[in-house]
Symmetry: C2
Subunit: 181 residues, 2 copies
């Protein structure tokens, strides 16, 4: 497995198929991550992300102005639910055992073993944040696991189920990526 850089003009493709994401951020050495389904391309180099005021991760994003969006795979389903159901506000050790790494030049924690990562800078749109909890982000860099995304394309038709991305629906249920048509 190699983590490859995804060219900026292809980065939106990491989100285009609508998989569920995990949003991560850090500030002053404190990092956190939360599951987020409502993340979407806004343009080829921009995204939107709905992040509630109840989330600890949001406080880190508001301070640092940076966040990462990553796509967990089926093998990480338990992690996805752990990060979605538990807040660092009430569970200070929420991130214990969650393996992270960094890419050169970006002070944003990335979760190991995901399918892909987008590092984003907050575009200041204060009113959207206050009224709708809507963050706008400019994509600064994007990366992918080359077993799952390479040459600008997802490889789900050959990837094993453990490496497919998750499309969260409700309860504890997700759909995996299916047949390519």
């Amino acid at each position: 497995m190699t983590i490859i850089s995804v060219p900026s003009e292809k980065a939106y493709r990491l989100l285009n198929h609508g998989a569920t994401t995990i949003v991560s951020a850090q500030n002053d050495g404190v990092f956190n991550a939360m599951s987020a389904s409502w993340v979407c391309p806004l343009d080829y180099d921009k995204i939107t992300a709905v992040i509630s005021t109840a989330s600890f991760t949001r406080t880190l994003i508001e301070k640092s102005g940076l966040f990462a969006v990553q796509l967990p795979v089926f093998a990480q389903k338990d992690l996805l639910f752990h990060l979605g159901e538990n807040s660092r506000f009430s569970m200070p050790n929420k991130m214990d055992g969650v393996e992270i790494f960094y890419q050169d030049g970006f002070d944003v924690p990335l979760l190991k073993n995901c399918a892909a990562w987008l590092i984003c800078q907050v575009i200041p749109e204060r009113e959207m944040l206050q009224k709708y909890d809507l963050f706008l982000g400019k994509i600064l860099a994007a990366y992918a696991d080359n077993r799952i995304f390479d040459g600008g394309h997802w490889l789900f038709e050959t990837a094993p189920d453990e490496l497919k991305t998750l499309h969260y629906v409700a309860g504890k249920a997700c759909y995996l990526d299916g047949k390519k048509v």
Copy 2:
């Protein structure tokens, strides 16, 4: 097949798994529809939709203040690409042969044979529209084909491939909904 009304608190689930949509609208008896991948829940009763100024459908939405978001199924893949690649600006007969229907009380054309439909009213956020082509919509009503969505849940694990929703990636390729996990 029966078209059922989806309770407002479950309507976001129609979009949560990230399938590709078709946006439709009408004004003064003129209607149109376009494919749109960048549509996302904003809240349980609100959505966002990126709709370019190049789109004829956008002119109808701006005049009428209403639009519908529908989820096409695999059997409609050719329709999805037709509506995505051709503009009514250059192809006046774009909608010839596209079957539509209406729900009582809403002057918005809905495309037959989709999996689900959300009727939305534009939330006026002029700056977002001008800067980012981002529409915000309040969900007024939602409906689904009960073979594909019922009791608040998608039924892809039993639906045949033709009735699965499409997750557009790039070129002419989509992934269908896959295994439930």
